[in-house]
Each structure stands twice: as C-alpha cells, then as structure tokens.
Symmetry: C2
Subunit: 251 residues, 2 copies
Amino acid sequence: MSTSLLASLLIRKLERFGPWSSDERQRIHDAIDSTIRLPAHAHLVQEGETPDGIHLVLEGFACGYKLLPDGRRQIVSYSVPGDLCDLRTTLLPQMDCSIGTISHAVVGRLSRERLTELTLHSPRMARAFWQTTLVEQAIAREWLINVGQRTAFSRAAHLLCEMFLRLRAVGLVKDNSCEFPLTQTEIADTLALSTVHVNRTLMELRRSGLITLRDKHLTIHHLPALEAAAGFDPGYLHLEATHDDDVIPDA
Amino acid sequence: MSTSLLASLLIRKLERFGPWSSDERQRIHDAIDSTIRLPAHAHLVQEGETPDGIHLVLEGFACGYKLLPDGRRQIVSYSVPGDLCDLRTTLLPQMDCSIGTISHAVVGRLSRERLTELTLHSPRMARAFWQTTLVEQAIAREWLINVGQRTAFSRAAHLLCEMFLRLRAVGLVKDNSCEFPLTQTEIADTLALSTVHVNRTLMELRRSGLITLRDKHLTIHHLPALEAAAGFDPGYLHLEATHDDDVIPDA
DNA sequence: CGGCGACTTGATACGTCTCAAACTATGTGG
DNA sequence: CCACATAGTTTGAGACGTATCAAGTCGCCG
C-alpha cells in the first residue's frame, strides 16, 4: 500500500465539497508519515491519550468506543476506508473515546504537527477537515435517534443501510454486496442491544428476505425495502455532494 | 440586549482554546446582524432548510431535534447561552435536524456569508469554529452512551450533571442552583424514555436527596454524589481549558 | 484432538412502555 | 371573578420488548 493511494483516498474525501489546488494536494501528500498493518481487534488509540499522529483507514474497519465501569461497551463510530478515525486530537487536548480495529486493517499515519500547520496556512483545508467533523457529528446524532427511538429490527436495518451506503461511496460495494466484518457482539455494542437479541433480529432480517449476511459478507437484496424497514433517510450522510462517479485511482 | 454582550459571549466561547487578536475580535463583532426575541417552543430552523444566518443563544435554552414519521421525537442537542445552535449550516448544504426554543429565548443572528469569509481569511478562527463542533460531537457521543447503556436513573442524573456544568461554565449557576426550564416531556424525548417513566425517575432522584427540581429550577445538593450516580465524567465537555475565572463582561 | 470464539436457541426475568385517569397550576373569555 | 380550557405533573395497572442466564452447535486453529 503506497502513500499515493493513501493520499488519493484522503484527498477524495476532503475535496467532497470543493476542489483543491495542486499545491494543497501536495501538502497533504507530504503530511503522510507511514502505513501500519494491524490485526483484527487491535488497539489504535486509548481514551485519554494524546497521540502524536492522526490515523486514516485504508483497508478494513476501525471503530470508536467507550467502556463503562461495569464492563459494558458502547461503540460510537465506525471508520471505513477513506475515513480519519481520530481527527479530533488535532484540536482537542485528549481523546474522549478509544479507537480499535474490527477487522484486519491497514492504516495510514499523518503527522499531527504538519496537519496543524496545514490548517493554519490553508483555510480551505481547515474548512475541509471541519466539514468531515460535521458529517461525523450528523452520523453520531442519527445513531442517537437510532438507539433512542427505533425497535431492534429497524435499528439493525438502519445500521446496515448506513454502512452499505458509506462503503458504496468509496467503491467497496459490488453487486449489492460488501464486506461486513462485524461480529454480532460488535453489532450489539453498536445498537445497544444484547448479543442474543441481535442474533434473533438478524435472523428475522434474513427470514424477511431483505438481506443475506454470512461469512462476513453482507448482501442487500432490495435497498429501498431495507431503507423503508429502517426508516432510513440518507441525507445525514451528506454523500450527495460526493464525486462518486470517480473510481479510486490505482497506486 | 446589545451586540456587545453577544460578541463577548461568543468570543469567550471561541477563545476557549487560545486567545485571538483584537482584529479577529473586531471581525466577529462585525459579523453580528441582529438580535431576536422568541417565545418558548418556537421554531428557529426546520430540518432540510438552508438558513442564511447562524444563531447564537444569548438567553434561554434551544434544542436540536428530529421527528420520526410515527410522531416520536428525539432531542439531539441543547444550546445554552453562549452556544451556536446551527453552526453546521456554514459548511453543510442543509440542516439535518430542526432547531427550536425550550424556554423564552434571546438569540443573536450572524451572517452566514460573513462567517464564511472570516473562516476563509483567518485559519485561527476556522479552527476555533471547528473546535466547537468537535466538542458538540463529543457531547453527542456521550448522549449515545447515555441512552444506549445507562438505566433511566443514571441517564437522568447524567443529563442534569451535564447541563449543570455547562451552565456553570457560562456563569449561570448560583448556590448550586440554576434555571432548568425543560418539561418532563422534553426530558423524556432527550433520554429516550416515556414521560411517565421520567416522572417516576425524577421523583426517585428527589427522594434520594440528590436534587431539588421544581418551578423550572434545579438545585444539585451534592454534585459528586450525583456524578457518581450518573457515572458522569466531565472530560467530554472539554471545559477544563475554559477561562472560567473571567466574569462575563457587562454590555 | 482440544480449545476457543462466534453463532444459535430456549426459558424466564425485568425495565420500561402504554393506557387510563386524576390532579395542579396557569391563563382566558364571559 | 368565576368557569373552563390547556399544559404539565403524578399515580396505578397491565403489557411488551429486550435482557439475562443457560446450554449447545459449528468452524477454525494450534
């Protein structure tokens, strides 16, 4: 995995709401430090830490989560390829949640210092980073609605819709299918349900013919139907402005 | 309510993580359009709209919420004096939730265009706005944990702790007491509980001697005890960097 | 072959919801 | 100034969605 692919994924994401100059692109490129290969269920950042680098997911999934004193865990975000998973440490003194991998993952590392310089010298880049934070915020709020208001069935359907669209936006969906490496325990910690109930709910989704989910692979047979079951409205993902006609260029 | 007070509240908030130049302060001051007085339960912004101004709460409470097709409502954020309630429209094409007032409120209006100019010309200001978004995001994630993992009792206690600390940070707490204009229905829509259960939970909080809540006025008798009951850790509010030794200057 | 993580299934318990109704405070028009 | 409407709070009883506990299956890897 070269830094070129890393750069193109990131630039693609940041340019979502407006193109950059070649100088700005070069600067992002230069901020890239290295690439790390991680196994599944590895720790990337611990709650309370102030890491000296920002991480960009290139392959695989990462998640943000918080552990409660009684051992319960709430997953508060997922990062798929193209997502920055701990951007907030650029500006906030310390992480307010931990970051870990879900599947085997490849992660790019960006120097926090250089990123800070960038945002201080290019307001357009500062705005682009701010924008990705705003989208993350919109997703967090939709999750709150999901956990707060929807039944287990809709909740699960909603998560599947969101992940499917996010993966599609980065070219990782083929024939209505995508990799989906979450265990039922991880889905449970995301949706605030017990593992047992997630299992029953997934079986119900399967029985209803909306999805196939096995061997870490998700197929959505009829997206509009699943969206209807979920009460899903994709607006909050703010994907419509994406240049999703582009194909991710080769490294 | 003069624009001076508006400006000082806002600047105080934005300078939380680093002071500005007098030129930057002046520019913010100049971005202020007007001041609006609103009754309780008024609409400020509707989901899907792209308003041409950003709103800053000066007095009273506002909230962000989303309505579901079946009539359920989830409140996803509160704005107290000093908070910008719809900053995201500076960068995102449309609001992904509605904004309304809780109590009678006074709201300042900032020109969206001017604000955009500001963030394009001063990277430091762009970063300051980004930072407030990051804090909002941290709050949204804590709410997700609250609704997802905690019992009704802890959940309610947690909300009270958060609002109390946020109000204290802007000088609105006196003798462990503050205005707390939320109805039980609004608390229910925040915590994803039924009104009936919120009522019973509040009674339990009162019976346990932790709080007094009546006539839209909250007193926390022993904050550490309430925090313990809530499993509350104030880190996510990122208030520690606040210049909370300052008093809000008069208009 | 044994062990372990993930998934599946059944039975029971419990937290919270829903429905229903009474009560209180506030404001309004006659 | 009273009669009434309205919004908010309080209380009771029963229903329901989901949690918990328990146990068993399957596949994979050492």
